[in-house]
Amino acid sequence: MGSGRRRAPPDDDVGHIPERHTTMDFTLTDEQELLLSSLDELLERECPESYIAELDLHHESATSFRKALHEAGFMSLGFPEEYGGTPCDAVTLVLLAERVCRQGLNNGFGLELLQAMDILEFGSEAQKQEILGLLANGRVPFALGFTEPGAGSDNSAMTTSAVHHDGLVTFNGTKTLITAALQSKYLLVMAKNPDTEDPRKAISMYLVPMDAPGVTTNRLEKILWYTQDSCEIFLDDVTLPEEDCLVGVKGNGFKQLMRNFEMERLVIAATCLGQAQCAFDDAAAYAAQRVQFGQPIGNFQLTQLKLTDMAIKLENMRNFVYKTAWMLDRGLPLKSQGALCKRYCAMSGFEVADDALQIFGGVGVTVGARISRLWRDLRGHRFGGGTDEIMVHIAGRQIVKDHS
């Protein structure tokens, strides 16, 4: 492999750098600008801080805002056109997710889109129509039922069984820490065929109605993500016709799940970016006007140090998210890029919120202060959607593999 430096092609004339040398364009397209300003209008009307604070206080879901998003067409971004969607690139999607979350709403946009896309990709016609109808009403179409008491990061250790017999499927098992199941009509269950040895081929994907006989739930109270409920779900001989509940191909559960996982990591990263930006803006504004010892605390170096390092992290997060989205759009292989991005954004996002909380001091931990909610909600992303440590597991192996 040659080690000499490649010579740059000669310039066409002295003093003029041809376009091919200036390919990094950080400007938004006109469409992105218009989408963002339309989203801004929608956020101002349908999702002000008072709305989010109320939801958080009462542990309710942002149904009316999601409905407004749907009416403005934002909920069908990236869907195939035959389902009323408009093709959309990853960069635009993360821009929108970032903006909604910058309003201060956790998991504000994107995840339910991607989940729906799983069904649109693999589901039957009946399943597709059902999911689209739910999205149109502002509802979360289904909750992801993967995690079990014995299977978190190690999800192939799951034991929930799906036994196929006479055109029916019977489920038995327990899922836990399932997000938004209590507000969803369906649960997207990952369950194993007990007769298949290889876990990679044993797991299939199923759409199970939350009100099916044999499904019971137990609400889990958390200290964060109040706008999404959490619960345990007990499946006790839940029996459904196979053609209704099986999604895609039996045994392909894992493969189907992996379809959009890079995009999901990216949306989570964008969520962290948006909320961290919100926390930073709140803290910087506070520092500029909170007077102690006769001057704004923003004049003190220790405050400025925090703010500076927070700004650096936000810039890094932003570049990371946009570059990763750009790679997805270009069809470039991500390898561990998604894992690196998710790890960095979740960890740095929380650090930014933590420093922001410190800047606020006592006032910040009062229930009415937005920063207290942002701090709690950002903490969850360090394990939600893949833990910080699993991201190391993914990326670390890849790095060593690449260098051997």
Binding site: D30, E31, E33, L34, L35, S37, S38, L39, E41, L42, R45, E71, A72, G73, F74, S76, L77, T86
Partner: protein
Amino acid sequence: MKIVVAYKWAPNPQDLEVRADGTVDASRGKPAVSEYDPVAFELARRLADETGGEVVGLTVGAAAIDTPLARKAALSRGLDRLVLVADDALVGADSTRLAAVLAAAVRAIGDVDLVLAGDSSVDVAEGQVPLTTAAELGWLGLGRVTAVSPATDGLVVERDTPAGVAVLTVRTPVVLAATADAVVPRVAGMKDILAAAKKPVEVLALAALDVPAPAVTLATLGTAKPSGGDRQAVLFDGADPAAAASQLVGALRSAGVL
């Protein structure tokens, strides 16, 4: 029904800087569809959908109003197509001149049944242009419109008057200027934004339009920052509300207004 939405593409004067000599520096302002115009777009779209009609956007101004972003921003608001007159001869044009050009463009578009506009622009905010445009066209022009619906031979229009809400049957063609709260305009939808680039745009040359020459001209004798702005701004700290209140009341009594 052929409906023209006459709108303005201009920056918010809040974002502009006024130099000490009173001249305005427009370089920092970011132009956008004027704040109160979306109402007209919404009414036009609803009316066109009801009657199977067409919505044509129309705006006039300096050459700089014609950019890809400006075109898409308008086309993403429910227009079927867009017509522009962008000519630097219109820099600093007054309301009568703008109205004359708008009217000429409406004539050039041809067979227009209704011109809808907002009730005032974000930068000049006088509500004059739509009404002068009606006069230039020789049509009736009505302001403070709060509702418009199709009728057998024209429209039924509701508008705000000091006496109450007046209901009128109106024959087309007509110019209607709608109040900012006549309807809640939808936000520009994602599909419309992404489809905007493909919609037809026609640029009309100012020189080719039949626009009457201005008869009355204004000779500028001077410009200045607005007068009456030297207020002394004595501020009290509201951290102790009772003390601040008492100080303020004292000051107002001394000033003789209480």
